[in-house]
Symmetry: C2
Subunit: 257 residues, 2 copies
Protein backbone atom coordinates (compact mmCIF):
# COMPACT_ATOMS: atom_id res chain seq x y z
CA UNK A 1 0.00 0.00 0.00
CA UNK A 2 1.03 3.58 -0.40
CA UNK A 3 0.88 5.94 2.50
CA UNK A 4 -1.15 9.15 2.42
CA UNK A 5 1.18 11.25 4.54
CA UNK A 6 3.28 10.63 7.56
CA UNK A 7 3.31 11.42 11.24
CA UNK A 8 6.30 11.32 13.56
CA UNK A 9 5.54 11.42 17.26
CA UNK A 10 8.80 12.96 18.33
CA UNK A 11 10.38 12.95 21.76
CA UNK A 12 12.38 16.12 22.21
CA UNK A 13 14.11 14.72 25.28
CA UNK A 14 14.19 16.73 28.48
CA UNK A 15 14.75 20.02 26.71
CA UNK A 16 18.42 20.61 26.01
CA UNK A 17 19.16 20.48 22.27
CA UNK A 18 22.30 18.47 23.16
CA UNK A 19 19.96 15.66 24.29
CA UNK A 20 17.72 15.63 21.22
CA UNK A 21 18.28 12.70 18.89
CA UNK A 22 19.38 13.29 15.29
CA UNK A 23 16.25 11.45 14.14
CA UNK A 24 14.06 13.94 16.02
CA UNK A 25 15.93 16.88 14.53
CA UNK A 26 15.75 15.40 11.05
CA UNK A 27 11.99 14.89 11.22
CA UNK A 28 11.52 18.44 12.49
CA UNK A 29 13.72 19.78 9.70
CA UNK A 30 11.53 18.38 6.93
CA UNK A 31 8.07 18.61 8.49
CA UNK A 32 5.35 20.61 6.77
CA UNK A 33 3.43 20.85 10.04
CA UNK A 34 4.48 20.77 13.68
CA UNK A 35 1.80 20.15 16.29
CA UNK A 36 2.25 20.48 20.03
CA UNK A 37 1.64 22.07 23.36
CA UNK A 38 2.92 25.65 23.27
CA UNK A 39 5.91 25.33 25.63
CA UNK A 40 7.06 22.20 23.78
CA UNK A 41 6.96 24.09 20.50
CA UNK A 42 9.24 26.64 22.14
CA UNK A 43 11.65 23.84 23.05
CA UNK A 44 11.93 23.01 19.38
CA UNK A 45 13.76 26.30 18.90
CA UNK A 46 14.95 27.49 15.54
CA UNK A 47 13.82 25.49 12.55
CA UNK A 48 15.67 25.66 9.29
CA UNK A 49 12.44 26.22 7.41
CA UNK A 50 9.04 27.53 8.39
CA UNK A 51 6.52 24.75 8.84
CA UNK A 52 3.00 25.43 9.97
CA UNK A 53 2.99 25.51 13.75
CA UNK A 54 -0.18 24.25 15.45
CA UNK A 55 -0.24 25.11 19.12
CA UNK A 56 -2.60 23.33 21.47
CA UNK A 57 -3.61 23.16 25.09
CA UNK A 58 -1.71 20.65 27.24
CA UNK A 59 -4.78 18.78 28.42
CA UNK A 60 -6.37 17.98 25.07
CA UNK A 61 -4.17 15.02 24.19
CA UNK A 62 -6.80 13.01 22.32
CA UNK A 63 -7.87 15.97 20.18
CA UNK A 64 -4.25 16.85 19.46
CA UNK A 65 -3.53 13.27 18.37
CA UNK A 66 -6.54 13.18 16.03
CA UNK A 67 -5.67 16.57 14.62
CA UNK A 68 -2.11 15.47 13.85
CA UNK A 69 -3.29 12.19 12.31
CA UNK A 70 -5.87 14.09 10.26
CA UNK A 71 -3.24 16.41 8.82
CA UNK A 72 -1.09 13.41 7.90
CA UNK A 73 -4.08 11.66 6.34
CA UNK A 74 -4.39 14.69 4.04
CA UNK A 75 -0.87 13.95 2.80
CA UNK A 76 1.18 16.26 4.95
CA UNK A 77 4.48 15.53 6.73
CA UNK A 78 3.57 16.06 10.35
CA UNK A 79 5.58 16.11 13.56
CA UNK A 80 3.74 15.88 16.87
CA UNK A 81 6.13 16.94 19.61
CA UNK A 82 6.38 15.54 23.13
CA UNK A 83 8.89 16.40 25.79
CA UNK A 84 11.01 13.54 27.09
CA UNK A 85 10.11 10.18 25.58
CA UNK A 86 6.76 10.17 23.74
CA UNK A 87 6.09 6.64 25.00
CA UNK A 88 6.30 7.53 28.71
CA UNK A 89 3.18 9.36 29.92
CA UNK A 90 3.14 11.33 26.68
CA UNK A 91 1.69 11.58 23.19
CA UNK A 92 2.48 8.18 21.65
CA UNK A 93 -0.34 6.49 23.54
CA UNK A 94 -2.88 9.10 22.52
CA UNK A 95 -1.92 8.62 18.86
CA UNK A 96 -2.15 4.83 18.95
CA UNK A 97 -5.46 5.07 20.81
CA UNK A 98 -6.78 7.39 18.10
CA UNK A 99 -5.58 4.98 15.43
CA UNK A 100 -7.32 2.09 17.17
CA UNK A 101 -10.55 4.04 17.62
CA UNK A 102 -10.46 5.27 14.04
CA UNK A 103 -14.05 4.55 13.02
CA UNK A 104 -13.83 6.61 9.84
CA UNK A 105 -10.71 4.63 8.81
CA UNK A 106 -8.96 7.83 7.87
CA UNK A 107 -5.76 7.17 9.76
CA UNK A 108 -4.77 3.67 8.67
CA UNK A 109 -2.91 4.94 5.65
CA UNK A 110 -0.74 7.34 7.65
CA UNK A 111 2.87 6.21 8.02
CA UNK A 112 3.37 6.52 11.77
CA UNK A 113 6.80 6.62 13.41
CA UNK A 114 7.41 6.96 17.14
CA UNK A 115 10.77 8.69 17.65
CA UNK A 116 11.97 7.79 21.15
CA UNK A 117 13.64 10.28 23.43
CA UNK A 118 15.47 10.51 26.72
CA UNK A 119 12.83 10.38 29.42
CA UNK A 120 12.82 12.82 32.36
CA UNK A 121 13.82 10.18 34.91
CA UNK A 122 16.98 9.29 32.94
CA UNK A 123 18.00 12.94 32.69
CA UNK A 124 17.30 13.59 36.37
CA UNK A 125 19.28 10.50 37.37
CA UNK A 126 22.23 11.53 35.19
CA UNK A 127 22.50 14.86 36.97
CA UNK A 128 22.82 13.31 40.42
CA UNK A 129 24.62 10.00 39.79
CA UNK A 130 22.81 6.72 39.34
CA UNK A 131 19.71 6.44 41.52
CA UNK A 132 18.02 4.25 38.88
CA UNK A 133 20.93 1.78 38.86
CA UNK A 134 18.71 -0.99 40.21
CA UNK A 135 15.11 -2.08 39.58
CA UNK A 136 12.72 0.88 39.45
CA UNK A 137 9.14 1.89 38.67
CA UNK A 138 7.82 4.89 36.78
CA UNK A 139 4.46 6.03 38.14
CA UNK A 140 2.34 9.01 37.11
CA UNK A 141 0.65 10.56 40.13
CA UNK A 142 -2.08 12.03 37.95
CA UNK A 143 -5.48 10.64 38.85
CA UNK A 144 -7.24 12.41 36.00
CA UNK A 145 -7.46 9.20 33.92
CA UNK A 146 -7.04 6.53 36.61
CA UNK A 147 -8.57 6.15 40.05
CA UNK A 148 -6.44 7.34 42.95
CA UNK A 149 -6.77 3.99 44.68
CA UNK A 150 -4.93 2.38 41.75
CA UNK A 151 -2.10 4.88 42.19
CA UNK A 152 -1.96 4.16 45.89
CA UNK A 153 -2.00 0.39 45.40
CA UNK A 154 0.89 0.67 42.96
CA UNK A 155 2.89 2.92 45.25
CA UNK A 156 2.34 0.47 48.12
CA UNK A 157 3.34 -2.55 46.03
CA UNK A 158 6.42 -0.85 44.60
CA UNK A 159 7.57 0.52 47.95
CA UNK A 160 6.98 -2.82 49.63
CA UNK A 161 9.07 -4.65 47.05
CA UNK A 162 11.85 -2.07 47.49
CA UNK A 163 11.82 -0.60 43.99
CA UNK A 164 13.28 2.84 43.39
CA UNK A 165 10.38 5.10 42.36
CA UNK A 166 10.36 7.74 39.64
CA UNK A 167 7.24 9.86 40.10
CA UNK A 168 5.96 11.78 37.07
CA UNK A 169 3.25 14.47 37.04
CA UNK A 170 3.64 14.84 40.81
CA UNK A 171 1.38 17.81 41.44
CA UNK A 172 -0.72 20.50 39.79
CA UNK A 173 -3.17 23.16 40.87
CA UNK A 174 -6.00 20.69 40.16
CA UNK A 175 -4.23 17.90 42.10
CA UNK A 176 -2.84 19.57 45.22
CA UNK A 177 -2.96 16.78 47.85
CA UNK A 178 -1.95 13.68 45.92
CA UNK A 179 1.82 14.06 46.28
CA UNK A 180 1.67 14.41 50.06
CA UNK A 181 -0.52 11.35 50.26
CA UNK A 182 1.83 9.43 47.93
CA UNK A 183 4.82 10.23 50.12
CA UNK A 184 2.90 9.05 53.17
CA UNK A 185 2.11 5.75 51.46
CA UNK A 186 5.74 5.22 50.47
CA UNK A 187 6.77 6.17 54.01
CA UNK A 188 4.80 3.24 55.41
CA UNK A 189 7.41 0.95 53.85
CA UNK A 190 10.53 3.12 53.74
CA UNK A 191 12.48 5.17 56.29
CA UNK A 192 12.33 8.94 56.65
CA UNK A 193 16.05 9.13 55.74
CA UNK A 194 15.51 7.60 52.30
CA UNK A 195 17.15 9.86 49.69
CA UNK A 196 14.77 11.77 47.44
CA UNK A 197 15.82 13.70 44.34
CA UNK A 198 13.68 16.62 43.15
CA UNK A 199 14.64 17.41 39.59
CA UNK A 200 12.99 20.42 37.98
CA UNK A 201 13.43 21.50 34.36
CA UNK A 202 16.48 19.31 33.79
CA UNK A 203 18.22 20.42 30.62
CA UNK A 204 16.30 23.71 30.49
CA UNK A 205 16.98 27.22 31.77
CA UNK A 206 16.43 27.32 35.51
CA UNK A 207 17.32 23.65 36.01
CA UNK A 208 17.29 22.76 39.71
CA UNK A 209 18.20 19.38 41.19
CA UNK A 210 17.82 19.07 44.95
CA UNK A 211 18.59 16.08 47.16
CA UNK A 212 16.48 15.72 50.27
CA UNK A 213 14.94 12.87 52.24
CA UNK A 214 11.55 11.23 52.28
CA UNK A 215 10.83 12.76 55.67
CA UNK A 216 11.85 16.26 54.61
CA UNK A 217 10.20 16.39 51.18
CA UNK A 218 7.75 19.27 51.09
CA UNK A 219 5.16 19.12 48.30
CA UNK A 220 5.30 22.93 48.25
CA UNK A 221 8.79 22.60 46.74
CA UNK A 222 7.46 20.52 43.84
CA UNK A 223 5.59 21.56 40.73
CA UNK A 224 4.37 19.87 37.57
CA UNK A 225 7.75 20.36 35.88
CA UNK A 226 9.50 18.30 38.55
CA UNK A 227 10.22 14.58 38.51
CA UNK A 228 10.83 12.93 41.88
CA UNK A 229 13.11 9.97 42.40
CA UNK A 230 12.56 8.19 45.72
CA UNK A 231 15.36 5.80 46.65
CA UNK A 232 15.05 2.17 47.73
CA UNK A 233 16.36 0.89 51.06
CA UNK A 234 19.82 0.54 49.51
CA UNK A 235 20.05 3.94 47.78
CA UNK A 236 23.00 5.94 49.13
CA UNK A 237 24.03 9.58 49.21
CA UNK A 238 27.50 11.05 49.69
CA UNK A 239 29.56 14.13 48.91
CA UNK A 240 32.79 13.74 46.96
CA UNK A 241 36.05 15.60 47.65
CA UNK A 242 34.87 18.57 45.62
CA UNK A 243 31.70 18.79 47.71
CA UNK A 244 29.43 17.55 44.94
CA UNK A 245 26.51 15.43 46.14
CA UNK A 246 25.88 12.06 44.53
CA UNK A 247 22.99 9.62 44.87
CA UNK A 248 23.18 6.06 43.61
CA UNK A 249 21.56 2.68 44.06
CA UNK A 250 24.25 -0.01 44.24
CA UNK A 251 24.31 -2.82 41.73
CA UNK A 252 24.53 -5.38 44.51
CA UNK A 253 21.46 -6.12 46.61
CA UNK A 254 22.11 -7.84 49.94
CA UNK A 255 20.73 -11.31 50.59
CA UNK A 256 19.94 -10.33 54.17
CA UNK A 257 18.75 -6.90 55.21
Amino acid sequence: MTYAGRLAVVGLGPGAPAWRSPEASERLACATDVVGYGPYLQLVGELAHAPMLHESDNRQEAERARFALGLAAEGRDVVLVSSGDPGVFAMATAVIEALHDDEAADFGRVEITIVPGITAASAAAARIGAPLGHDFCCISLSDVLKPWDVVEARLRAAAGADFVLALYNPISSQRPWQLGRALDVVGEARGAETPVVLARDVGRPGEAVVVTTLGETDPADVDMRTVLIVGSSTTRRFDDLSGRTWVYTPRTYPAER
Copy 2:
Protein backbone atom coordinates in the same frame (compact mmCIF):
# COMPACT_ATOMS: atom_id res chain seq x y z
CA MET B 1 39.15 23.40 42.95
CA THR B 2 40.62 22.47 39.62
CA TYR B 3 39.85 19.15 38.04
CA ALA B 4 42.55 16.66 37.10
CA GLY B 5 40.87 15.27 34.04
CA ARG B 6 37.35 14.37 33.11
CA LEU B 7 35.20 11.32 32.59
CA ALA B 8 31.94 11.15 30.65
CA VAL B 9 29.85 8.04 31.18
CA VAL B 10 28.13 8.11 27.84
CA GLY B 11 24.90 6.39 26.85
CA LEU B 12 25.07 5.50 23.16
CA GLY B 13 21.35 4.81 23.08
CA PRO B 14 20.09 1.53 21.65
CA GLY B 15 22.61 1.51 18.83
CA ALA B 16 21.39 3.52 15.86
CA PRO B 17 23.49 6.67 15.36
CA ALA B 18 20.21 8.52 14.70
CA TRP B 19 19.33 7.91 18.36
CA ARG B 20 22.62 9.06 19.86
CA SER B 21 22.49 12.46 21.54
CA PRO B 22 24.65 15.32 20.28
CA GLU B 23 26.25 15.52 23.74
CA ALA B 24 27.34 11.89 23.48
CA SER B 25 28.80 12.45 20.02
CA GLU B 26 30.56 15.63 21.14
CA ARG B 27 32.23 13.91 24.10
CA LEU B 28 33.35 11.04 21.87
CA ALA B 29 34.73 13.52 19.34
CA CYS B 30 37.12 15.14 21.80
CA ALA B 31 38.05 12.19 24.04
CA THR B 32 41.66 11.15 24.41
CA ASP B 33 40.56 7.70 25.63
CA VAL B 34 37.47 5.62 25.04
CA VAL B 35 36.81 2.70 27.40
CA GLY B 36 34.17 0.05 26.93
CA TYR B 37 32.99 -3.45 26.28
CA GLY B 38 34.10 -4.49 22.79
CA PRO B 39 30.71 -4.58 21.01
CA TYR B 40 29.83 -1.17 22.47
CA LEU B 41 33.08 0.25 21.11
CA GLN B 42 31.98 -1.07 17.72
CA LEU B 43 28.68 0.81 18.11
CA VAL B 44 30.66 4.02 18.42
CA GLY B 45 31.62 3.66 14.78
CA GLU B 46 33.86 6.08 12.99
CA LEU B 47 35.56 8.73 15.08
CA ALA B 48 36.97 11.88 13.56
CA HIS B 49 40.24 11.46 15.43
CA ALA B 50 42.08 8.47 16.88
CA PRO B 51 41.67 8.21 20.63
CA MET B 52 43.13 5.36 22.60
CA LEU B 53 40.55 2.55 22.64
CA HIS B 54 40.48 0.38 25.76
CA GLU B 55 38.41 -2.73 25.26
CA SER B 56 37.21 -4.72 28.23
CA ASP B 57 35.19 -7.77 29.14
CA ASN B 58 31.47 -7.17 29.70
CA ARG B 59 31.40 -8.66 33.19
CA GLN B 60 34.16 -6.60 34.79
CA GLU B 61 32.12 -3.47 35.41
CA ALA B 62 33.81 -2.42 38.63
CA GLU B 63 37.30 -2.82 37.17
CA ARG B 64 36.29 -0.95 34.04
CA ALA B 65 34.88 1.91 36.10
CA ARG B 66 38.07 2.19 38.20
CA PHE B 67 40.24 2.01 35.10
CA ALA B 68 38.31 4.84 33.42
CA LEU B 69 38.41 6.96 36.60
CA GLY B 70 42.14 6.28 36.94
CA LEU B 71 42.83 7.48 33.41
CA ALA B 72 40.86 10.66 34.08
CA ALA B 73 42.69 11.17 37.39
CA GLU B 74 45.88 11.23 35.33
CA GLY B 75 44.49 14.21 33.45
CA ARG B 76 43.02 12.53 30.41
CA ASP B 77 39.67 13.21 28.70
CA VAL B 78 37.93 9.86 29.02
CA VAL B 79 34.68 8.49 27.67
CA LEU B 80 33.29 5.29 29.17
CA VAL B 81 30.63 3.96 26.83
CA SER B 82 27.39 2.19 27.74
CA SER B 83 24.63 1.07 25.45
CA GLY B 84 21.21 2.55 26.11
CA ASP B 85 21.09 4.82 29.13
CA PRO B 86 24.14 4.52 31.40
CA GLY B 87 21.92 4.98 34.46
CA VAL B 88 19.69 1.97 33.74
CA PHE B 89 21.43 -1.33 34.57
CA ALA B 90 24.64 0.04 33.10
CA MET B 91 27.94 1.76 33.85
CA ALA B 92 26.91 4.91 35.74
CA THR B 93 26.31 2.98 38.95
CA ALA B 94 29.66 1.21 38.77
CA VAL B 95 31.41 4.57 38.38
CA ILE B 96 29.62 6.24 41.29
CA GLU B 97 30.25 3.17 43.44
CA ALA B 98 33.97 3.36 42.60
CA LEU B 99 33.97 7.06 43.46
CA HIS B 100 32.30 6.34 46.79
CA ASP B 101 34.68 3.50 47.63
CA ASP B 102 37.70 5.55 46.57
CA GLU B 103 39.99 4.89 49.53
CA ALA B 104 43.05 6.31 47.82
CA ALA B 105 41.12 9.53 47.09
CA ASP B 106 42.40 9.53 43.54
CA PHE B 107 39.04 10.02 41.89
CA GLY B 108 37.55 12.99 43.72
CA ARG B 109 39.24 15.49 41.42
CA VAL B 110 37.86 13.94 38.25
CA GLU B 111 35.11 15.98 36.59
CA ILE B 112 32.41 13.34 36.10
CA THR B 113 29.48 13.77 33.72
CA ILE B 114 26.78 11.20 33.13
CA VAL B 115 25.45 11.63 29.58
CA PRO B 116 21.96 10.10 29.49
CA GLY B 117 20.71 8.05 26.57
CA ILE B 118 17.57 6.44 25.23
CA THR B 119 17.08 3.25 27.20
CA ALA B 120 16.26 -0.07 25.51
CA ALA B 121 12.67 -0.16 26.79
CA SER B 122 11.89 3.24 25.22
CA ALA B 123 13.29 2.16 21.87
CA ALA B 124 11.46 -1.16 21.97
CA ALA B 125 8.20 0.57 22.88
CA ALA B 126 8.61 3.08 20.05
CA ARG B 127 8.86 0.31 17.47
CA ILE B 128 5.56 -1.28 18.46
CA GLY B 129 3.41 1.66 19.61
CA ALA B 130 3.10 2.68 23.24
CA PRO B 131 3.13 -0.29 25.62
CA LEU B 132 4.78 1.88 28.32
CA GLY B 133 2.04 4.50 28.10
CA HIS B 134 0.95 3.78 31.67
CA ASP B 135 2.79 3.00 34.92
CA PHE B 136 5.60 0.50 34.40
CA CYS B 137 8.56 -1.16 36.11
CA CYS B 138 12.04 -1.88 34.80
CA ILE B 139 13.47 -5.07 36.31
CA SER B 140 16.76 -6.79 35.57
CA LEU B 141 16.37 -10.56 35.66
CA SER B 142 20.05 -11.02 36.44
CA ASP B 143 20.60 -12.65 39.81
CA VAL B 144 24.36 -12.29 39.67
CA LEU B 145 24.33 -9.33 42.10
CA LYS B 146 20.96 -9.80 43.81
CA PRO B 147 19.23 -12.85 45.21
CA TRP B 148 16.69 -14.49 42.94
CA ASP B 149 14.04 -14.30 45.67
CA VAL B 150 14.28 -10.49 45.48
CA VAL B 151 13.66 -10.64 41.73
CA GLU B 152 10.70 -12.92 42.25
CA ALA B 153 9.22 -10.76 45.01
CA ARG B 154 9.46 -7.71 42.76
CA LEU B 155 7.90 -9.50 39.80
CA ARG B 156 5.06 -10.67 42.01
CA ALA B 157 4.48 -7.20 43.48
CA ALA B 158 4.62 -5.47 40.09
CA ALA B 159 2.37 -8.01 38.39
CA GLY B 160 -0.10 -7.92 41.27
CA ALA B 161 -0.34 -4.13 41.10
CA ASP B 162 -0.87 -4.34 37.31
CA PHE B 163 2.25 -2.52 36.19
CA VAL B 164 3.55 -3.03 32.69
CA LEU B 165 6.93 -4.80 33.00
CA ALA B 166 10.10 -4.10 31.05
CA LEU B 167 12.50 -6.99 31.64
CA TYR B 168 16.20 -6.34 31.07
CA ASN B 169 19.00 -8.94 30.99
CA PRO B 170 16.39 -11.65 30.54
CA ILE B 171 18.61 -14.66 29.93
CA SER B 172 22.18 -15.79 29.38
CA SER B 173 24.08 -19.05 29.17
CA GLN B 174 24.87 -18.71 32.88
CA ARG B 175 21.23 -17.90 33.74
CA PRO B 176 19.15 -20.31 31.65
CA TRP B 177 16.06 -20.93 33.82
CA GLN B 178 15.32 -17.53 35.33
CA LEU B 179 13.21 -16.13 32.47
CA GLY B 180 10.89 -19.13 32.40
CA ARG B 181 10.43 -18.86 36.15
CA ALA B 182 9.82 -15.10 35.87
CA LEU B 183 7.10 -15.62 33.26
CA ASP B 184 5.47 -18.21 35.53
CA VAL B 185 5.46 -15.74 38.43
CA VAL B 186 3.92 -13.01 36.28
CA GLY B 187 1.40 -15.54 34.96
CA GLU B 188 0.08 -16.10 38.48
CA ALA B 189 -1.38 -12.58 38.32
CA ARG B 190 -1.93 -12.03 34.60
CA GLY B 191 -3.72 -13.91 31.85
CA ALA B 192 -2.07 -16.07 29.21
CA GLU B 193 -3.36 -13.70 26.50
CA THR B 194 -1.44 -10.71 27.90
CA PRO B 195 0.56 -9.11 25.07
CA VAL B 196 4.33 -9.57 25.27
CA VAL B 197 6.84 -7.74 23.07
CA LEU B 198 10.22 -9.33 22.40
CA ALA B 199 12.55 -6.65 21.06
CA ARG B 200 16.01 -7.75 19.99
CA ASP B 201 18.78 -5.43 18.83
CA VAL B 202 16.46 -2.46 18.31
CA GLY B 203 18.25 0.17 16.25
CA ARG B 204 20.96 -2.26 15.17
CA PRO B 205 21.44 -4.56 12.18
CA GLY B 206 19.21 -7.59 12.56
CA GLU B 207 16.59 -5.76 14.62
CA ALA B 208 13.64 -8.04 15.37
CA VAL B 209 10.48 -7.04 17.23
CA VAL B 210 7.95 -9.81 17.80
CA VAL B 211 4.56 -9.59 19.49
CA THR B 212 3.38 -12.69 21.29
CA THR B 213 1.48 -13.51 24.46
CA LEU B 214 2.47 -14.39 27.98
CA GLY B 215 1.28 -17.95 27.46
CA GLU B 216 3.16 -18.37 24.17
CA THR B 217 6.46 -16.75 25.13
CA ASP B 218 9.24 -19.28 24.73
CA PRO B 219 12.50 -18.44 26.55
CA ALA B 220 14.30 -20.17 23.69
CA ASP B 221 13.32 -17.22 21.49
CA VAL B 222 15.01 -14.75 23.86
CA ASP B 223 18.66 -13.90 24.32
CA MET B 224 20.67 -11.37 26.32
CA ARG B 225 20.23 -8.74 23.59
CA THR B 226 16.45 -8.83 23.95
CA VAL B 227 14.28 -6.64 26.15
CA LEU B 228 10.83 -8.01 26.99
CA ILE B 229 7.80 -5.85 27.60
CA VAL B 230 4.95 -7.65 29.34
CA GLY B 231 1.64 -5.81 29.19
CA SER B 232 -0.70 -4.99 32.05
CA SER B 233 -4.32 -6.17 32.17
CA THR B 234 -5.29 -3.17 30.01
CA THR B 235 -2.58 -3.45 27.34
CA ARG B 236 -4.11 -3.96 23.89
CA ARG B 237 -2.95 -5.28 20.55
CA PHE B 238 -4.43 -4.63 17.10
CA ASP B 239 -3.51 -4.55 13.43
CA ASP B 240 -4.09 -1.36 11.45
CA LEU B 241 -5.42 -1.17 7.89
CA SER B 242 -1.94 -1.70 6.49
CA GLY B 243 -1.55 -4.88 8.55
CA ARG B 244 0.96 -3.38 10.95
CA THR B 245 0.68 -4.67 14.52
CA TRP B 246 0.49 -2.17 17.37
CA VAL B 247 0.62 -2.65 21.12
CA TYR B 248 -0.36 0.09 23.57
CA THR B 249 -1.44 0.60 27.13
CA PRO B 250 -4.34 3.08 27.24
CA ARG B 251 -4.00 6.29 29.21
CA THR B 252 -7.30 5.62 30.96
CA TYR B 253 -7.44 2.96 33.66
CA PRO B 254 -10.93 1.70 34.55
CA ALA B 255 -12.31 2.22 38.02
CA GLU B 256 -13.88 -1.24 37.93
CA ARG B 257 -12.27 -4.19 36.27
